[in-house]
């Protein structure tokens, strides 16, 4: 009896200790490149988007920023698809992608506005990051980067100082409980060097001075489909389901140098919990805390009103006609109608001018005496 009591007590303690204290999850997924030869960055971001949705984060809690010029690109041999694996096994574009910032809206300013919340009041709800102090946020960025900066759409860049300041502004306003920052670019580790706000864990695909390499080209599509680091991260995430107890230490081991050629790095000194206690689903999935409702309040049943409304409801239903579609397009009419006679219009200015010119030239050449033979 004592043993079972102690077992229950320690299990409860362990459960509480593992818990991270968050009540909702958000994800901000950013692909910072455009143009056809950066296909792999879009495929990276969309694959992470699929995993995150599969593990439970709803679209309303995902802010997806993509240039979105791959699926309908004239150079795409398979239109309306974005593949993440050669031999076209997995179409990550699908039917239900909800891109919040597309094409030229993916700018450094919009990204920083989303993070800090300083958005103009007319922005729709799907474009906002409405996180609170109990939100765990996953931020994934991919594209071309350098030592201390990340290139946005070939025209501007974001520096690691700006990113660190943006996270500090988020922290000051308590817009996150814990933050996981993953970056897959060349020299990615330089982007997390300057963070100074608490509760941030960062992963990068390569160290300063190293390049992140792409995984495999597809001969039919003609470009590289994925980056190595994200490819192996996705393989890892395929084995995670919403119940998994896998922790962050396993994610740090993903893609060793032998597979990735670059050395992935991570930073956990700003994070308060030990990474081995942090579940993957704390960031990638959205498991809610639920409680059983044990109490009710007692309401007085007011039968008079209920019955009369019930009768009204029944009467309403009987009176309602069956619904039918309105006549939208009279197809039968269109198919069988005769071609309409067009109304006659007098010739326009151009035709008149042309004929006047021809007649003038004729009479100039051959003389006015021929007039009587014509008219």
């Amino acid at each position: 009896m004592w043993a079972s009591f102690i077992c229950w007590w320690t299990q409860d303690q362990a459960e509480q200790f593992f818990r991270s204290g968050h009540t909702n999850n958000w994800a901000v997924l950013v692909c910072t490149s455009r143009f056809w030869f950066n296909y792999r960055h879009v495929a990276n971001t969309l694959s992470v988007y699929r995993s995150v949705k599969r593990l439970g984060i709803p679209d309303s809690h995902i802010v997806l920023m993509l240039a979105d010029d791959m699926a309908c690109n004239p150079r795409n041999p398979k239109p309306a698809t974005v593949f993440s694996h050669k031999n076209m096994e997995l179409n990550v574009y699908g039917d239900d992608v909800e891109v919040d910032y597309r094409s030229y809206e993916v700018t450094v300013e919009n990204f920083l506005r989303v993070l800090t919340g300083r958005i103009p009041p007319s922005t729709p709800r799907s474009k906002r990051l409405l996180s609170d102090d109990r939100s765990n946020i996953l931020i994934y960025m991919t594209g071309h980067g350098g030592n201390g900066f990340l290139k946005f759409q070939d025209s501007e860049e974001i520096t690691n100082i700006e990113l660190a300041d943006a996270f500090e502004q988020m922290w000051q306003k308590r817009r996150y409980n814990e933050l996981l920052f993953i970056i897959d670019t060349c020299q990615g580790a330089s982007m997390y060097e300057r963070f100074y706000s608490p509760n941030i864990m960062a992963l990068a695909s390569s160290q300063v001075g190293e390049d992140s390499l792409s995984h495999q080209p597809d001969p039919a599509i003609g470009v590289h489909l994925m980056d190595r680091y994200t490819f192996y991260v996705l393989e890892f995430l395929e084995e995670i389901n919403p119940d998994s107890q896998t922790n962050m230490n396993d994610l740090f081991q993903v893609c060793p140098k032998s597979l990735c050629v670059s050395t992935p790095g991570h930073r956990t000194d700003l994070f308060q919990r030990d990474p081995k206690n942090v579940l993957i689903t704390d960031f990638f999935g959205s498991v809610r805390k639920v409680e059983i409702t044990t109490e009710t309040i007692s309401l007085q049943r007011d039968s008079g009103i209920m019955e009369s409304s019930h009768e009204e409801g029944q009467r309403d239903e009987e009176l309602m006609e069956p619904l039918k579609y309105a006549e939208q397009l009279p197809v039968a009419q269109i198919i069988h109608q005769k071609p309409k006679l067009k109304d006659w219009h007098p010739p326009g200015g151009f035709i008149l001018g042309l004929w006047a010119l021809i007649i003038m030239v004729f009479f100039k050449t051959y003389g006015i005496k021929h007039m009587k033979f014509i008219f």
Partner: protein, 555 residues
């Protein structure tokens, strides 16, 4: 000729030196300050000192209590001393930077004749009906009636009774220290009806350091200006069940009175929808012993996410949304019960998730399948459903059961489901929470401005900050004088102004201006101009020093 030429070149040299000196003087005296002034980030003045004072603000929460003594409640000589006022102040021990003091101001007086008559009636409910105060009592204030020790108004061993509107009844005592003893009892009852440490701890849960992972503290919704409540009926199997629910009537009759009672706490809007073919994300398991299906506690957290994307809750408004779902299980999985940790089916068949909403499973009565063919018409019993939903709504708002003192009788709830003093407790908690949030926002804005030098503060943002600071101070004053309603309104204004100031889009004005890039911009402009000036200054200085040395030598 040569001498004149030499004199001319000397003059030229002197003029050249003077010109160089004037260039340098203009550049340094006029140019540098002008450049500095025109390139600094515009910051309208902010009341930094007042903002830092807000951190050390002392909140005094005054609860005015009127204590009415009937004739036989206390000894005669004590009765002679009435009326007088006693103040009891206590500091709430919370690890928060703002000190909070709770002040119960008890005004003792004798009972009027109609009150004596009412309090000598048979039972408490009659007495309350007769005691209706002519005008509504102000929010936050309480009235307590002290009856005699042997009075039969309350059941035999009940010492006190808490009524649905801000009144309570306490038994008196015939004792030398009557006032002290009764005073303690009154404080206990008054605390249960207004402020206790756990109410304030729950309100400030986000600002206190985390030492306990208590689920109570993380359940309530954060304070906001308005809320959106959505009732959804999920029918995954329309081929078998044709479900009808009179949601409009139920909202009108049960939900709207509750929300009207809560209207001081924010604007509420209610909508409803019916979703067909919406499944739960989890497959229920079959229990052969009761031949029913069940969902156990571990699978409950995974139920919400697949459904949430179809609810359309994000399109409605910018206010926080509370979703209440009624799920009618499909024929293949009927009846469906929710099991708690011990494996027993839950009586309400419902569960809720903090800051999101609640789900209830409504099982169709098996008798309905006998006679008719599919689809079976199902009329949802809205009373049963609303009882659960309103209970969940209360929990989600943080209206918890109070800590009643021992031997205290709590009256049944009013028809609206909310007692008036529960609203007061909510308003106290919300006011304190709003003040904490506004203070944190203002302080973090001030800290940010110190840390990051690129943030622009325009005039309208500065005026919002000033009005936020003024609103916080006003709210603190109103709390100290016991006007709960105006304090709550002022605290909401403080939160709104401070959030508007912090999240103004113009604060992000200067991007791309890190310090190392400033050098890259200014060097091509200033270097070509500065190098000749500096070099000439150096040359002038060296020549002057040489000429002094020559002068000394000749001397």
């Amino acid at each position: 000729m040569a001498a004149a030429g030499a004199a001319a070149t000397d003059l030229e040299v002197v003029r050249g030196k003077r010109a160089a000196l004037f260039f340098a003087a203009v550049a340094i005296v006029l140019g540098l300050p002008l450049w500095w002034k025109t390139t600094e980030t515009y910051r309208a003045s902010l009341p930094y000192s007042e903002i830092s004072e807000l951190n050390a603000l002392q909140l005094r929460l005054r609860v005015p209590v009127t204590v009415v003594f009937t004739r036989e409640s206390v000894p005669l000589d004590d009765q002679e001393k009435l009326p007088f006022t006693v103040v009891r102040e206590r500091e709430i021990p919370l690890k928060y930077k703002m000190k909070i003091k709770c002040r119960f101001q008890k005004a003792y007086r004798r009972a009027f004749d109609h009150e004596e008559e009412a309090l000598s009636s048979g039972n408490v409910q009659e007495a309350e009906a007769m005691l209706t105060v002519p005008q509504e009592q102000a929010e936050g204030s309480l009235t307590m009636y002290v009856i005699s020790e042997r009075s039969s108004l309350l059941p035999q061993d009940t010492m006190s009774y808490i009524g649905p509107k801000r009144t309570a009844v306490v038994r008196g005592i015939m004792h030398r220290e009557a006032f002290n003893i009764i005073g303690r009892r009154i404080i206990q009852v008054a605390q249960a009806m207004s402020l206790t440490e756990d109410v304030l701890a729950a309100a400030l849960a986000d600002h206190l350091p985390e030492d306990k992972w208590s689920s109570d503290k993380r359940r309530p919704l954060k304070s906001s200006l308005g809320y959106e409540i959505t009732f959804s009926l999920l029918n995954p199997d329309p081929k078998s069940h044709s479900v009808h629910w009179d949601i409009e009537g139920a909202v009108r009759q049960y939900v709207q009175p509750f929300l009207n009672a809560l209207s001081a706490a924010g604007n509420f809007s209610v909508d409803s929808q019916i979703l067909y073919y919406a499944m739960l994300g989890v497959n229920p398991r079959f229990d052969p012993t009761s031949s029913s299906y069940y969902l156990d506690t571990h699978s409950l957290p995974h139920v919400i996410n697949p459904v949430e994307s179809r609810l359309g809750s994000s399109a409605a408004s910018l206010y926080p949304v509370l979703n209440f779902l009624l799920y009618v299980p499909e024929l293949a999985h009927s009846p469906l019960y929710i099991q708690d940790k011990d494996g027993a089916p839950v009586a309400t068949n419902a569960f809720h998730s903090p800051r999101w909403g609640g789900i209830m499973v409504y099982n169709v009565d098996s008798k309905a399948y006998n006679a008719s063919e599919l689809p079976v018409r199902v009329e949802v019993d809205m009373v049963r459903v609303m009882e659960v939903f309103l209970a969940q709504l209360r929990l989600l708002f943080g209206i918890a059961q109070p800590q009643v003192p021992p031997k205290c009788l709590l009256s049944g709830p009013k028809s609206e489901g909310l007692m008036t003093w529960e609203l007061d407790r909510l308003l106290w908690a919300r006011s304190v929470e709003n003040l904490a949030t506004a203070t944190t926002t203002l302080t973090s804005l001030a800290q940010l401005l110190g840390k990051i030098s690129n943030i622009v503060i325009k005039d309208d943002v500065a005026s919002e900050v000033y009005s936020a600071v003024a609103a916080v101070q006003k709210a603190a004053e109103e709390l100290a004088s016991g006007h709960l309603a105006s304090a709550f309104v002022a605290s909401q204004e403080a939160v709104m102004s401070s959030e508007r100031a912090f999240f103004d889009p113009s604060l992000l004005h200067l991007l791309y201006f890190p310090d190392d890039q400033k050098f890259a911009i200014y060097i091509p402009l200033f270097l070509p101009m500065a190098v000749p000036i500096l070099l000439s200054l150096v040359k002038i200085f060296l020549e002057t020093r040489k000429s002094w040395k020559n002068l000394e030598k000749t001397d």
